[in-house]
């Protein structure tokens, strides 16, 4: 088992960026500047398209960071001992969530008339909307439900992150100085000693993790209902919410793999993030590529078989005309290529191949989020030309810059490897330490 046994180190492996990671910061700032220019230019030329590009990118970046944070809670709830070296890297995406929350506000309050076909003064072709749906499809209610759920989700995610970090901050405090030291002091206020704190943190994060999971599902479901399903007001799918958030879990894993390999290199974590850990991560990634294919198929086959016009239009728009190559690319990138690429042990353990297939999945995921929304506005004659232009890519770069900066913010302050272990896992590990043979048997799997 790839688990280091119970944290027996000569020194605490506190790995974070000491000083400023200049290259990364420069890259982040440059991306943000480019993105900001692109967004402003897009707004000036075609505000509808600018907001739509904004929405597609917001869905992408929110999904991947919420998915990654969710994984750090899932592995804790499932007591996944293998995940110790990657858990904090997953958690580090929590730094983007407050930014996602801020970026959500203009989307909610300003962009309505460019996005929702059922809102007053919609810019674009308006379809038939059954009158009774106004109870659900009205802007004030849409803003309220999205804002409340997403705010609570982000708040609980931050609380969960706080309790995951706190015991480590207490342990690593003595190595720090200056602003970081002051931050640690503030975050470890009322410190009651390592043992008590670890028990408290175990207890609190065990309480918060399931709450976070429920909020994650609810919040992303409502986002999917409003920002995907309602864009074609006659369309319905009971699975769209589940598909949307389970899909984000796959992207959360891809982004974990990419970030793990990047941080492994930049922070010299090779001694802590072992090939065995990458193997486990790769297996989970492979499994979720299959889960994506399953959920896609579960949704597709029912609609295909039913041949009900309002249901079919959604699928036909995405699988025909100029969109069909994109749809095929999504299928290839989210399932076919990573499935065959990650078969076997080697590709999962080799950083280059794992990163490659995770990156392929991320490309597919961006296209998939784009494909979920764009054909709803641009279909029929409007579908050509394909709208992946400087507006979409520029907005993407800006959001990517914000993500890079928020990750660097996290990584230059907090240890990127979780040092403490929740009580429940120590119980499990106690066995491994005393009896090293007990875990054998399944390891080759």
């Amino acid at each position: 088992m790839a688990v280091d046994t119970g944290g027996v180190y000569d020194e605490l492996p506190v790995r974070r960026f000491e000083g400023r990671p200049r290259g990364g910061l420069l890259l982040g700032v440059a991306l943000v500047v480019v993105g900001a220019i692109a967004i402003v230019a897009a707004l000036a030329s075609d505000p509808a398209r600018a907001w739509r590009a904004y929405l597609a990118n917001w869905l992408f970046f929110t999904s991947i960071s919420a998915g990654a944070v969710m994984w750090s809670a899932i592995v804790m709830m499932a007591r996944g001992l293998w995940s110790q070296p990657v858990r904090r890297i997953q958690l580090s995406f929590v730094a983007f969530l407050p930014i996602a929350w801020l970026l959500f506000l203009p989307l909610l309050f300003v962009s309505g008339k460019y996005i929702f076909p059922w809102s007053a003064g919609f810019v674009g072709e308006v379809e038939h909307i059954p009158a009774g749906k106004a109870l659900w499809l009205n802007v004030p209610f849409a803003i309220t439900r999205n804002l409340v759920l997403f705010t609570v989700f982000v708040a609980v995610a931050l609380a969960f992150a706080y309790w995951s970090l706190r015991p480590d901050l207490g342990a690593a405090k003595s190595d720090t100085s200056g602003a970081v030291r002051r931050l640690y002091d503030r975050l470890t206020g009322g410190w009651r000693g390592t043992e008590v704190e670890e028990v408290r943190a175990s207890h609190n994060s065990a309480t918060l993790a399931p709450i976070l999971a429920i909020l994650y599902a609810l919040s992303l479901t409502i986002i999917a209902f409003d920002y995907v399903m309602s864009l074609e007001p006659e369309w319905k799918s009971t699975l769209i919410g589940g598909y949307f958030f389970a899909d984000a879990l796959l992207a959360g894993l891809s982004v974990t793999a990419v970030a793990t390999l990047a941080f492994r290199r930049a922070l010299g974590l090779q001694d802590l993030v072992l090939p065995e850990n990458l193997h486990d991560l790769g297996k989970l990634h492979f499994g979720f590529n299959v889960v994506w294919a399953y959920l896609f198929w579960a949704q597709f086959i029912v609609i295909w078989y039913g041949i009900l016009p309002p249901e079919q239009s959604f699928v036909i728009r995405r699988f025909s005309g100029p969109y069909s190559p994109i749809a095929v690319t999504v299928l290839l990138c989210l399932f076919v290529i990573p499935f065959f690429g990650l078969l076997g042990v080697k590709p999962k353990k080799t950083p280059a191949t794992l990163a490659l297939f995770a990156a392929v999945t991320l490309v597919g995921f961006w296209l998939e989020r784009w494909l979920l929304v764009y054909p709803s506005w641009y279909h029929g004659e409007l579908a050509t030309p394909l709208r992946i232009g400087w507006q979409e890519i520029g907005t993407f770069l800006g959001f990517a810059g914000l993500l890079v900066l928020s990750l660097l913010y996290f990584a230059s302050r907090f240890p990127m490897i979780q040092l403490w272990r929740p009580m429940a896992e120590l119980e499990l590990l106690g066995d491994v330490v005393e009896n090293p043979t007990a875990g054998a048997g399944v390891d080759e799997a």
Partner: protein, 474 residues
């Protein structure tokens, strides 16, 4: 000073020897209560076949099925038993791949349950179609006898899905048992048992070469069985979702059915194992740790199922189509003449499992037993609601009708429980009910200075160890 190292997963088991003793002890002459229980289940099986016979002679009308409700309690019970069959493979294959080590002592019983549940489920399509002598029509073989199977029909997919699932889980069940059957062979005293286990254990001697191939086969079968856990109930759900019946035509059905199946299967495992633990003194093998882990999975799946209820109800309303709003089993079901069925399902599958948030409930055998009974009932009524309520209220009002299960139908369902329990009881006495070999993997290895805690009571009915064969097999 001898130190006793305890397994973290099964702390009350002292030694390898104790495992052999405790488990193989079950493969002996049963007591009176066992015989009585077996007789009761056989009586139920006879009842079932009698009722079925009556239905065959007098016609399918005896089942209470009539237009428009052509699918009634038989299909409900079919889906129920297929669902029950999911926990076994989940525990034996998926948890194996996830390295959950507590599974070792319970997976064998769960797997057996899976096989028997699928065997029970398999009866119902045959009962339902009315003319069992034509049951081979279910198996599509193109062009022969001018049957021309319609491969676009989900009913055909179902035959493939359930057939594959049965084959793979039965193979997995059998392969995993081979080393234990060898251990049983080596300690069997009754001649017919020794002959039986000799045949079944395929000449297993426990050589390195055999173990190597065994573990490989086991791993690959686990990997093959894992997607099947998802596929079977997905295909079963498509029996419904492919149609346009309001309430059935729903994209969430596949994952929703799978989650429900795992939920009900875990509940059934607990319903069976909690009394068995008590009766056969397997306290050391089935601990609060097990109920806790299974209860957590039940809680997760209950939440997924409840999420699906919420989505179904919401989208039913959101569609703003009269048929969906009135015909959907959730909205119409909650207020219409079948309100009791819908509310029973919501109560048993959403409200009652909320108790599983509490650790003390998860670790209490009595509480878990009661909760799992509720879940079993709730999951049967979930299928009843989906099938009967939806069919009773389709698009056009002249098709609205009610359905009342007949006495024949109820007797057959009751008998199916007898059929299932009969096989399970036979399994308990004929095959090793706990995996001896795999359990030893999670016990601490024997040490030189090891002090056996139960050294005293070795006199009674310890199976003779021939040439220390069983010990060396490990």
């Amino acid at each position: 000073m001898a130190t006793v190292i305890r397994s973290e997963t099964h702390p009350a088991i002292g030694s390898y020897e104790e495992v052999n003793h405790d488990i193989l002890r079950l493969l002996s002459r049963p007591g009176r209560s066992y015989t009585i229980l077996l007789a009761v289940t056989i009586a139920l099986v006879i009842t079932m076949f009698t009722a079925w016979g009556v239905q065959i002679v007098l016609g399918i009308g005896m089942s209470g099925l009539r237009n428009p409700i052509g699918w009634g309690v038989y299909i409900t019970t079919f889906v129920f038993w297929v669902g029950i069959g999911h926990a076994g493979t989940l525990i034996s294959a998926i948890l194996y791949l996830f390295r959950a080590r507590w599974r070792q002592s319970i997976y064998r019983a769960a797997e057996a349950m899976t096989v028997f549940a699928v065997m029970t489920a398999g009866l119902f399509p045959v009962i339902h179609v009315g003319r069992p002598w034509l049951a081979y029509y279910l198996i599509p073989y193109p062009n022969q006898r001018m049957i021309w199977p319609n491969f676009r029909s989900p009913l055909v997919w179902d035959v493939f899905a359930v057939g594959t699932y049965f084959t793979v889980s039965a193979t997995f069940f059998f392969i995993g048992m081979i080393p234990d059957l060898a251990a049983a062979r080596d300690s069997a005293v009754v001649p017919w048992r020794r002959r039986l286990y000799s045949i079944l254990s395929l000449g297993w001697r426990g050589t390195n070469w055999e173990w190597k191939n065994f573990t490989r086969a086991y791993l690959y079968l686990a990997a093959l069985a894992t997607p099947l856990v998802l596929s079977v109930h997905s295909v079963v759900s498509w029996d419904f979702a492919m149609s346009l019946v309001p309430g059935w035509h729903s994209t969430v059905f596949a994952p929703y059915f799978v989650a429900g199946a795992i939920f009900s299967g875990l509940a059934m495992v607990l319903t069976l194992l909690i009394p068995i633990r008590k009766i056969y003194g397997l306290e050391a093998y089935f601990t609060p740790r097990h109920t806790e882990a299974m209860a957590k999975m039940m809680l997760l799946t209950a939440m997924i199922v409840s999420y699906a209820y919420a989505c179904e109800a919401f989208v039913g309303w959101y569609t703003f189509e009269a048929a969906e709003q009135h015909g959907g089993y959730l909205l119409f079901g909650a207020t219409g003449e079948y309100w009791w069925s819908t509310w029973l399902m919501v109560t048993c599958n959403f409200f009652v499992p909320q108790l599983l948030w509490f650790r003390s409930v998860r670790r209490s055998f009595a509480a878990m037993f009661v909760i799992t009974l509720f879940v079993n009932i709730g999951m049967w009524f979930e299928r009843y609601s989906i099938i009967v309520v939806s069919l009773s209220h389709e698009y056009s009002p002249w098709m609205w009708n009610q359905y009342r299960p007949s006495l024949t139908g109820m007797l057959i369902i009751l008998g199916s429980f007898g059929w299932f329990l009969m096989w399970f009881l036979l399994f308990l006495r004929l095959l090793p009910a706990v995996s001896v070999a795999e359990l030893k993997e999670v016990l601490p290895a024997p040490l030189r200075l090891y002090r056996r805690p139960r050294a005293v009571e070795e006199t009674t009915r310890r199976p003779p160890v021939r040439g220390r064969g069983t010990e060396e097999n490990r």
